[in-house]
């Protein structure tokens, strides 16, 4: 399967802390695959094990169990790392360097020749919107600027796969949009993006597929559309009743007043067709009909709740 660019196979990591070697199971079970050319979201609440998983995939932390594979090779492999870009969580870089110097250093680690390093650094500084910060040491960078230079350095090796740990943190709404657009650009260039986050609207706008991790265990993996549309929560019908009034509502339906008339919220299992025929026959005017599907947030909250029950 050459179109899988990253594979986490039953990864687990247990840290041991302190004198009594207290066990902390940061990741209990993580399996997922990232396919070539997609934007893959790795979602989970704070402390659920996202960063730890990514560190195992980047070869920074050795898994307690399972296998990590990047670009077809077991981690860590220098040949695979050549085609990989990584942005750590809340990154900190050499604060005495200027952006140009820092990108030059990173380029050298990719064995890029000097002239090419300079050209790439120029392009990337432009691309992440840091042109005005040239020549300024990173120590004087704001949080969002550091995040931007971090993204620039992850692209210095012109990677096939870019792994970003919470790329949106510290960015203002404009910055977030820019990063979203950048990720979509990367995808258009044929690169694969894996990023972790807990900012759900960003995910809905960018990700092809997602994995969700709760308390160290991956709960669901799949295309966003599949994870969500599978669940119709309810159907909202907005209407103005006719002279004959309203027919009897299906079981579980709720009725509320609304400037346009009435809002009827039909449960997911209701026969919407039959209800519509009945109200039309009674002379009502139907203004709108909206299926309410589960949002990513609903799913997230539900999975988190399941997790709590499982743990109890």
């Amino acid at each position: 399967m050459s179109d899988v660019v990253l594979r986490a196979d039953d990864l687990a990591k247990t840290f041991r802390l302190g004198f009594f070697r207290k066990r902390i199971e940061a990741v209990k079970q993580a399996s997922f695959e990232v396919r070539r050319g997609e934007i893959f979201g790795y979602l989970g609440p704070n402390g659920s094990g996202k960063t730890t998983t990514l560190k195992m995939l980047m070869g920074l932390v050795f898994p307690s169990r399972g296998r990590a594979e990047v670009l077809g090779r077991p981690v860590p492999d220098r040949r695979a790392k050549r085609r990989l870009g990584y942005l750590p969580e809340s990154p900190y870089f050499y604060d005495y360097l200027t952006p140009e110097e820092f990108l030059d250093l990173v380029g050298a680690l990719f064995d890029v020749k000097r002239a090419e390093r300079r050209a790439r650094a120029d392009r990337l500084i432009e691309r992440v919107g840091l042109s005005s910060a040239r020549g300024r040491p990173l120590r004087k960078f704001s949080k969002g600027m550091l995040q931007r230079i971090g993204i620039a350095q992850s692209l210095m090796g012109e990677p096939e796969l870019v792994v970003l740990d919470e790329p949106m943190t510290g960015l203002d709404p404009i910055g977030r949009k820019e990063i979203r657009d950048l990720m979509l650009d990367l995808k258009r260039e044929g690169r694969t993006v894996l990023y972790s986050t807990h900012i759900l609207p960003d995910v809905e706008m960018t990700c092809d597929r997602v994995a969700m991790i709760f308390a160290g265990r991956i709960r669901s993996v799949g295309p966003l559309s599949q994870l969500l549309t599978a669940r119709l929560l309810s159907t909202e019908v907005c209407l103005r009743p006719g002279a004959a009034g309203l027919p009897e509502l299906p079981a579980g339906a709720r009725k509320s007043e609304n400037p346009d008339g009435l809002l009827i919220d039909l449960p997911a299992n209701a026969d919407v067709d039959a209800f519509l025929r009945a109200v039309l026959a009674a002379g009502a005017r139907v203004h709108s009909l909206t299926p309410r599907r589960e949002s990513l947030e609903d799913l997230f909250v539900r999975e988190a709740a399941n997790q709590d029950q499982g743990a109890a």
């Binding site: 840290f15 730890t52 560190k55 980047m58 070869g59 920074l60 932390v61 050795f62 860590p76 220098r78 040949r79 790392k81 050549r82 990989l84 990584y86 750590p88 990154p91 900190y92 870089f93 050499y94 005495y96 360097l97 110097e101 250093l105 990173v106 050298a108 680690l109 990719f110 064995d111 971090g150 350095q153 090796g157």
Partner: protein, 261 residues
């Protein structure tokens, strides 16, 4: 090679842009100047004093800077998490350690070079020379400083900066006292003697790098006379380099197995 060079150069650049090194250098300059301030001596004594105090200053400050640099420049990468960015780059972990170490050596070489230069100028003002024995002496001190750096890097590969600094300095002090400990061991019972002798063999013998006043081959060594022979210089340098590399390889092995969390 480009990768190791990039890490080394960056380490050097960091040290140069780090103000603390300048202040240590300033102290070294102060010591050498204090040699000048020793008036009321005959010119001959004054030159002798300058050479002794100058070498002592280069030695002391070289070692202090070596411990500081060796512990700090590696620890900072771990503490500030710059390793998270660097290690996932196409670079072996050992290349990172080697690059750091080479960068530290470059830093220390420049530091010691500047100190030696100041000493040379001081001597020149006294119408004396920075002669061959002085060059040999400074070279041996540099090899010693390299060894101390390697030991500091080794300890900071797995322990806190405070402990690493403490252990590295401890190794230096014990290493310098190896002949004294040997002499002590000779007077003790067989068990204590074996223990101390073994310890002395394993510890880096740093007295070799500062032999002024010691007896080498039935003759007292002095920087004011011929100092040491070329073959002594060579074997001692070889000893220092070999010991450094062994310690450095151990540091690399530890680094290879580490989790960076």
């Amino acid at each position: 090679m480009r990768r190791i060079q990039a890490i080394a150069w960056n380490t050097f650049r960091e040290a140069v842009r780090n103000k603390i090194l300048y202040s240590l250098l300033f102290f070294a300059v102060l010591i050498i100047l204090s040699a000048l301030a020793m008036g009321n001596l005959t010119l001959h004594e004054e030159i002798r004093m300058t050479r002794d105090i100058g070498l002592f200053g280069i030695d002391a400050f070289g070692v202090i800077i070596a411990v500081f640099v060796g512990v700090n420049l590696l620890y900072k990468e771990l503490d500030l998490k710059t390793v998270y960015t660097i290690l996932p780059k196409p670079l072996h972990r050992w290349e990172f350690v080697l690059g750091k170490w080479l960068g530290m050596l470059l830093t220390l070489a420049v530091q010691m070079g500047v100190m030696a230069l100041v000493l040379g100028v001081t001597l020149w003002l006294q119408e004396a020379q920075f002669d061959a024995p002085m060059v040999k002496a400074v070279w041996l001190l540099f090899v010693n400083v390299m060894l101390v750096t390697s030991i500091a890097v080794f300890f900071s590969a797995f322990s806190s900066p405070f402990l690493s600094g403490f252990f590295a300095l401890g190794c230096f002090l014990v290493g310098r006292s190896v002949p004294d400990i040997r002499a002590l061991a000779a007077k003790l019972g067989p068990l204590a003697k074996t223990v101390l002798e073994t310890g002395c063999t394993l510890m880096p013998n740093m007295h070799l790098f500062y032999p002024s006043g010691a007896i080498v081959g039935a003759e007292e060594v002095s920087v004011h006379r011929d100092f040491v022979s070329a073959s002594y210089l060579l074997t001692t340098t070889g000893y220092g380099v070999a010991y450094s590399l062994i310690v450095l390889i151990l540091a690399m092995l530890i680094f290879r197995k580490r989790d960076f969390v």
